[in-house]
Each structure stands twice: as structure tokens, then as C-alpha cells.
Amino acid sequence: MRWLVASFLLALLSVVHARSFNSSRLLVVTEEITEKDKYSTFWGDLESRGFSLSFASPKSPDLSLFKHGALAYDHLLLLPSKSKGLGPNLTPNMLVNYINANGNILLALSADQPTPSAISSLLLELDIFLPPDRNALVVDHFNFDKASAAEKHDVLLLTSPKPLRNGLRNYFEVDGSIAVPRAVGQVLGNASPLLAPILRAPSTAYSYNPKDEAEAVEELFATGSQLSLISAFQARNSARFTVLGSAEMLENKWFDAKVKSQSGVEGATANRAFAEKLSAWTFQELGVLKVGRVEHYLNEDLPKGTANSSEVGFLDLNPKIYRIKNDVHFSIEISEYVFTHLVPFTPPPTDELQLEFSMLSPFHRIPLVPTSQTANSTVFTATLTLPDQHGIFNFIVNYKRPFMTNIYEKRTVTVRHFAHDEWPRSFAISAAWPWIAGIGVVVAGWVAFVAVWLWSAPAEDGLRKRN
């Protein structure tokens, strides 16, 4: 009987064990299930990286992103649909809730199908503008694939994207050219720091409506590098939403197509490698930072009075209270997750991690320098002298960059003023010496007076006679 119970428990344990590791559930929403075969190489790549794929149509009645209040799927991939919206289960409101619950979304658009207005309004909430004409296509008469689009010029041939600006890391670099067939261009609003373009159109590209503007384009939506073909939005909780302007670039036939550039150079596309990088970034396999230990301690010799009881761990780690003008040592351990494992994190070349010591506004903002590395993390440290203001302060590491998860670590400490016995003694203050000498003179005079009064004989006659 006992072995029955034991085997039952073991089976239960293995089921629980398997389910806890299976946290990469990816839902692909595509209107026609037959269309998914066009992307079979891409599904194979995703599954080989450990994602478990499910396919559903937006019209299916039991499609739900949430189950019992938690996410039913960790990632969502939306392929272009012909209908007016994405169905009652994928309203823009639900997609926003999905992102707020830490779900990642990869939304693919296509110029072959008009973009549903629900999608346009969802993107407008994120400050991403789509062309107001539902039919919009990006063409470039200078950078197109001669092999497949010699007449229509709607297959763009682009080089690998460069880092956005100085100090950012480029997660999307590939060898070779990227083919972007029939893309919908987006324009990103300037105000939001959460938006970043992953792939921008070259300077001679422009977006037009093939139905109405077939002869000449008079009113431009956007041109050149203002057109973002692939845009990235990272929410403040580090959930990622990527808008892919061309769903067709993920198809099997573009993964290793032979393309010919304008100047006649032939080659194979790097779409497969680019799709891997793009999906890895969106589904939290690249650009993910994890914080390990955060430690701070007093970096001074201990005062004579305190006793050290134990030998190991003599440091009082992460004390709750410091004194003004203490020297404090702060360290934070950060790793970067790359596909399957954690590696030590190195910030991009001109960028640096910063430590803020702030009450309501920072009193110190100093760089955190990498001092040591463990097997899968880098330890960044900084030493600082606490300000001469007492109060409640916070050690804040606030590292937010495009394409990297947001790090915000806050540790609160009290900073007290000098205690009554921590001030410098008066004999150490040179200006006090005359006063101390005065006290000494008074003491000596007093003792002498006592002695004279007790043991003196009356004074000489001459003086007495005057009285």
C-alpha cells in the first residue's frame, strides 16, 4: 500500500515539476490556420528555443489571454488578419491589460491587408502612428530587391541596423541584408522614452497608398528614416510590444531567398537570423537584466567601544542606520540573460550605471564601476561619503535604457546626526586651549588658597597697623 501512495506522490511531483519549467507559452493568433504553414521554419526555430506554441483564430470563442486571473500565455504573436478587428477576445483594452500583466506581444502588419482600426487605435495609444489610409505600402526605388520586385520596388533590401545612438547596445545586428517585403511604415511619436525604432527605412524610401496614389504621390505620410519599419515599445514593467511592419519577412521563402541588390550584388537574405534576434528580444530572451545581491556597509574603522562578537561576517551588512559624513561602500550584482543562461553584464561602451543617494532629490549621483565578476554576474561598486544632512535617504540604482529591462533598486536607510559623544573633544580644538588653561589656573589658585587659609600665620605688623 505504501508504495502505491509513494508512486502516486512521485507522479504528482513530476507533473508539478514539468509545469513549473514550462513558462514559455506562446500563442499565435492567425485568422486562417492554413496560413501558418507559410511560416513553418519560424515556428520550428521558436520551438527549438523552448517555446511551446499554440495556434488560435481570433474568432474562436474560447480564446482567452487570461486564465483564473493570471496569464494563460506568456507571449502573443499576432499575424495580420483580413477582418475589421481582432475579435471580442483580443480587444485593444485586453491587449493593454495583457502588457500590464507582463505579457509580450509581437504584432505583425502587412501592406496586403488593410490594418484594422482597432489595431490603429491601439498603436495610437502607444504613440505609434500608422498611415491614415488603410492601404499603405513602403517602397524604395533605390534599395529594392531586383530578383523579386524589379517593377513594383516593394521589397526593400536593408543592411543590418546600427545602434540607435551612442551608448546603446545593438541586439539586432546580423550579417547580410534583410529583405522587407510589402511593409507598413510607422511613425513614432517623439515624446515617449519607451519607444525605439528597431529598423528604419533608408532615406529614399516613402509610404504611399497603392490604390489612390498609383500615379504620383503628392501628400506624404513620412519619408526616409522617419519611417520605422519595425518599432519596439518597452513598457515600464519591461513587457515588450514589437510592431513588425512586414509579416511576410518571417515567411519560409524569405528566410533564405536569393536577392539581388540595385547594384547587381547577389546574395542570400539574413532574415532567419534577424527573425531570431527580433523574436528573442520581444520574448525576453535577449536584453534581459537581472539584479542579484545589493549590499551596502560602513567603510570605516569601527570605533573603539564596539565589540566584535563573531569573526566571520564582521561587517554589519545593510545596516538600517548610518551617521552623516560616514564613508559607505555600495555594491550591486547584475547579470544579463542571453537565450538560456545568465552572463555577467557589461554596460555598452560609453554608458555607465549610476548610483543615486537621494532624499527627495539626489544628493549624490556617482558612477558604479564594475569591480569583479562571478560566473554569471558582474559586481558594480561605488564608495561615497554621506551628505551632511540627516534624514531618511535612499540608495537608488535607476538604470533604464531602450531595449534593456528596467532596473530600479531602492534601499532605504536612516542617516542620523552626530551623537553627543561623537563631536571632537575640546582639548582637540586649538581655540579652546586658552580657556582650558584658565580652568587649570583657577584650580591651582583654589588649592593654593585652601592651603594658605588653613596654614597661614598673620601678616607682618606693618600692614596690620594700617587697619
Binding site: V139, H141, F142, A150, E151, K152, H153, G167, N190, A191, S192, P193, S203, T204, Y206, Y208, E215, A216, V217, E218, E219, L220, T223, G224, S225, D351, Q354, P362, F363, H364, R365, I366, P367, T385, P387, D388, P402, I429, S430, A431, A432, W433, P434, I436, A437, G438, V441, G445, V447, A448, V450, A451, V452, L454, W455, S456, A457, P458, A459, E460
Partner: protein, 287 residues
């Protein structure tokens, strides 16, 4: 015999026409004029497709830059799908394109004023590079070439309003807290001088007392009659000063008070006995 020959000629010319087709433009004129003058004043310049204009064009604040041209494919005037005037800012790499409005035969114009330019191009430190882009679908070679340099004369009385700087995630400026000035004592020499001056008062005091006739002549007599009392009393006075000194340097109140109590008790008891002895001497008329 003739038919295949003509066919061959036709085929050859057709293919050569196809191969030779490339976009370009003819009769291009650039004018900078203000609204009222109607093109008489201002700059007028001819543009050539093969080489950029050597003259630097300036666009004042209220004037309009107008380019009129006829786009050609091969040798015939034709309207390309894309006919842009692109203004490129060299330092930041930002650019903006303005489309031509062309008729079917390729004739048309574009007009640009300072109002149409975004803030980043208006406030460029170096001249903008203007290029003409003519391209369309099909296999004709597209045309894109730098045409002229454009400098903007801003209206000094009404400078362009800068848009609010957008928030971007980047490293922020370093802040190092500036500590309040530490209190310092004055120069040590002055402290030394006054310390010496104060200490020198002690012998002056003793000298003054000596002049007034102070003495300890009865020391032997007092110690002879009540040695323990006088000894203990003087000792306890000195010990009390010692207690105060220890309290000043290292002891705290709870260490000092018991000792002071003991010393005080000794001083009281021995002192009353010593005062009795002094009274005896006073009674004997020696004081």
C-alpha cells in the same frame, strides 16, 4: 526578307531604349523670392542634373524657395512616382522631403518656405544639403543627386520656438554633494600666545599674595597637632580636582558620582577635624 530585318531593327531599338532609360530633369530653375515682388528680385539659378550648383542659396525668413523643372525619363518628359526635394542636415543626419506637384508631362514645381521646415533643420549650424530625387516604378535608373546648399536666414526678431526636449533614457549628469564648510579654529600661534598669557597669570597671582604677606608658616604646627585630618583634607581636595579631571577626560557621570561621593565624605569628616584644629589655634591667638 525585309520583315525580319525591320523586326530586328525594331527589337534592337526597343531594347536599347529600355536599357538607356534613366530619370533626369530638364529646364530646372531655382528662385528665391518674396511674395510681393513676384519673382523680379531675389535669386534665380539654373540647376543641372550632372553637377551641383556652386552657388550657395540663402532663404530669408519670409521668402519662398521655388524649383521648377521638367522630369524626363530617357529623353521624353514624364511624371515619376517619386519627385522629392530632400533637405539633409549634415551633423545630425536628419532630413525632410518635399514632393513636387507634377503634371503628366513631367512639368511641375515645389515651393518651400521656412514655415514648412521642422525646428531641427531651421536651427542647423551648417548649410543644409538639398538633393533632387526622381524615381519611379519599373526598371529605369533612378536619379538622386546633391543639387545645391541651402542656408537659412532666420528672423532674428521672432526666433523659432524650441520644442520641449523629449525625455530619453540615458545616463544623467554626475552630482557630487558639496559639504558645508567645516568650522575651523583660528591660527594656533594666537592660541599658544593666549594660553601662555593665561598660564603666566598664576605666578603673578602667587606673587601678589606673597606681597600681601601670604605664607604657610603654620604648616608644621598644624600637621603636628592633627596630621591625619589635615593630610586627608588636603588629599581629598586634590582628589576632588582629580575626579573632575577624570570626568572631563574619560569617565561618565555614573562613574564619577560614587567616587565624588566618597571623596566628598572624606573631605567633610577630615575637614571638620582640621577646622577644629584651626579653631584651637585661633583661640590661642595665633591667627
Amino acid at each position: 526578307m525585309r520583315l525580319p530585318y525591320t523586326l530586328a531593327v525594331a527589337a534592337l531599338s526597343f531594347s536599347s531604349a529600355c536599357l538607356a532609360a534613366s530619370w533626369s530633369f530638364d529646364d530646372a530653375t531655382l528662385t528665391v523670392s518674396s511674395k510681393g515682388s513676384g519673382g523680379d528680385g531675389g535669386v534665380k539659378e539654373k540647376l543641372s542634373p550632372n553637377s551641383p550648383s556652386s552657388k550657395a542659396i540663402t532663404l530669408p525668413a519670409v521668402d519662398t524657395l521655388k524649383i521648377v523643372l521638367t522630369a524626363t525619363e530617357g529623353s521624353t518628359g514624364k511624371r515619376p512616382h517619386q519627385a522629392f526635394l530632400t533637405l539633409h542636415e549634415p551633423t545630425t543626419g536628419l532630413e525632410e522631403s518635399f514632393p513636387f506637384s507634377l503634371k503628366e508631362n513631367g512639368n511641375g514645381k515645389v515651393e518651400v518656405t521656412q514655415k514648412d521646415l521642422p525646428y531641427q533643420l531651421l536651427t542647423s549650424k551648417s548649410p543644409l544639403k538639398a538633393s533632387l530625387v526622381l524615381a519611379s516604378f519599373g526598371s529605369s535608373t533612378p536619379y538622386a543627386s546633391h543639387a545645391f546648399d541651402l542656408t537659412l536666414q532666420l528672423d532674428t526678431t521672432a526666433p523659432p520656438t524650441a520644442p520641449t526636449a523629449p525625455e530619453r533614457y540615458t545616463s544623467k549628469p554626475v552630482i557630487n554633494h558639496i559639504f558645508k564648510v567645516q568650522e575651523t579654529s583660528g591660527p594656533r600661534v594666537i592660541s599658544f600666545f593666549f594660553t601662555i598669557a593665561v598660564l603666566a597669570m598664576l605666578p603673578v597671582l602667587f606673587g601678589a599674595w606673597a606681597l600681601l604677606g601670604a605664607n604657610v608658616d603654620h604648616l608644621g604646627k598644624a600637621f603636628g597637632s592633627a596630621p591625619i585630618a589635615h593630610g586627608l583634607f588636603l588629599g581629598s581636595v586634590l582628589a576632588m580636582e582629580g575626579v573632575f579631571f577624570m570626568y572631563y577626560t574619560s569617565w561618565n557621570l555614573f562613574q564619577m558620582l560614587p567616587v565624588a561621593g566618597v571623596v566628598g565624605t572624606v573631605a567633610y569628616i577630615s575637614g571638620s577635624r582640621a577646622l577644629t584644629e584651626v579653631q584651637e589655634r585661633r583661640m590661642a591667638g595665633e591667627r
